[in-house]
Amino acid sequence: MSIHLQNIGKHFGATRALEPVNLDIHEGELVGLLGPSGSGKTTLLRIIAGLENADRSRETSKILFGERDVTNVHVRDRRIGFVFQHYALFRHMTVYDNVAFGLTVMPRKRRPSSGEIRSRVFRLLEMVKLEHLANRYPAQLSGGQQQRVSLARALAVEPDVLLLDEPFGALDAKVRQELRRWLRHLHDELNFTSVFVTHDQEEALELSDRVVVMSDGRIEQIDSPETLYRVPKNRFVFEFLGDVNHLEGRVRDGVLTCGDAHLNVDLPDGHEELLLRPHEVRLAEAPSAESHLPVTITAISPVGAEVRVELEADWLAKPWLATVRHADFERLALRRGLRLYAHPRQWHRFPEAESKAPEQRHVA
């Protein structure tokens, strides 16, 4: 079921948690709300769920599930499934009773027969691969298993939308990976509309059809993961989605200078700050006509598909990070303390003034 949010804002006392936002989520979509803590993402999710009320002063505020106006509908009647970061399982009930809870508290008229509840609960437990643990108590399960029970419990009532608040936040890296893939798979299979909150950009980009990037109570950008990464709308989105290297200096006659480093840029005179992703930094033994950026290697991490190299220099306020292919790593015989020259393949620029569009330039 699609979700339509119109002019939804939230204040806690005098503090503004969420600026009035508009958001449309299509039927069957998996959308991630991504942002640092305090960005209002959890507040937004809780407002969609009905666990929090949006500010009432705005008359145009509206939440629609499909055609159904749920703005003033209590959480228990919204037909949502909610998955909590810390699972919030009922500790005194077995796994089976936890999953069955939503069905057994239905009004007598709508409640399925006990036989049907049983078969439905076991179908769900089978789906989350926990049917053999039906009689265990939550405390006897691992974190990953508890979160799967919590998901089965939320899905048991066949909600219109599934909402997940940092669902993998409390789990260790490996289990998180596994559950992420499993949730994606489950979503593709059952095709429910779901919204999840995360502060982990990798998780958001890997799992979502579309990502809503938030900061400071505002929506910064809504796009598919690729667009978000390739064409960030502003500096915040660019910086939040990955590691960033900064190059700050004065431009005069088409040359940006910073200490003893300089780079040819096609920009008007004045103060400039350029941003580079680690994979946009090339390392070489000699400077070139375009750039003269001397650096020293201070740390090397050869784990993964590429080697991560940390670079320092007098002219840099904060060390740079560069990723190098293993072949180049061996060819250049990189080691700690080696002095080299950095060459930007590409750089990004986000002018302070809102009117100017962000720029991306390739360096010849």
């Binding site: 399982l89 009922f90 005194h92 809870f101 508290v105 265990r136 108590y137 006897q140 419990r153």
Partner: protein
Amino acid sequence: MSLAELSTRRIAAGQKRVLPGFGLSMGISVLFISLVLLLPMTGLFGQLAKLSLAEYWAIVTEGRVVASYMVTIGAAAVAAMVNAIFGLLLAWVLVRYEFPGKRLLDALMDLPFALPTAVAGITLATLYASSGWMGGILEPLGFKVAYTWVGIALAMAFTSIPFVVRTVQPVLEDMPNEVDEAAMSLGARDGVAFRRVILPHLWPAIVTGTGLAFVRSLGEFGAIIFIAGNTPYETEITALMIFVKLQEYDYAGASAIASVVLFVSLTLLLAINIWQGRFIRRLHGGKG
């Protein structure tokens, strides 16, 4: 085997404790318990030893004493039940809501502990006597509180309410809001969520608190004695029977009756502990 021997054996077995001070702290604890708890108890049993079994049985089953058991247990049970309900409500209000004067109300909870029980007793008696404020209102309506078992139950409830509040409060504080949010998101009505999700969490604390309140009420003397009226066979409590025996210098008789109260209290507390242990083990996955 002495404690010292025990600890040497441990060291020999290569199991030296990492945390220091076990010998000293354990020694002081045992000494303290012996002096403050066990020594008076020994005195009690010493007195009991002066009685033959038949004498003992005659004292504890005397008509007036048995009537006092009934009054005490009945009133204590009513007081404990009332406290279970209102103590839960008070704890709920103190934990779940924010309101002006919350800290004051929280501090007031301890008043029955702080106030000398005799003061409480005299106050209650004055208030509910037919000439008092409340008594003046209630008695024309046909409710007689002072000098009846209702008055006894009232005094018991007054002195034991903190037991329920103070045992339920921390458990309720530890319970995350998410649990009832989860219940609501699954469609549970407020009543159902309370009964099936919140109450089971609080159950051990409520039972313990109520049990403590009940046991405390069994032994309460000062607060009750002024409001009870102390009519033989009707409003005499067991603690008074002990007091009466003491005034007659019948220490053995007093000890005999006291031993009955002690036995009931200890059995009840032990039973609650065992039951609670089982319950909590389940919450911790059969391990803890």
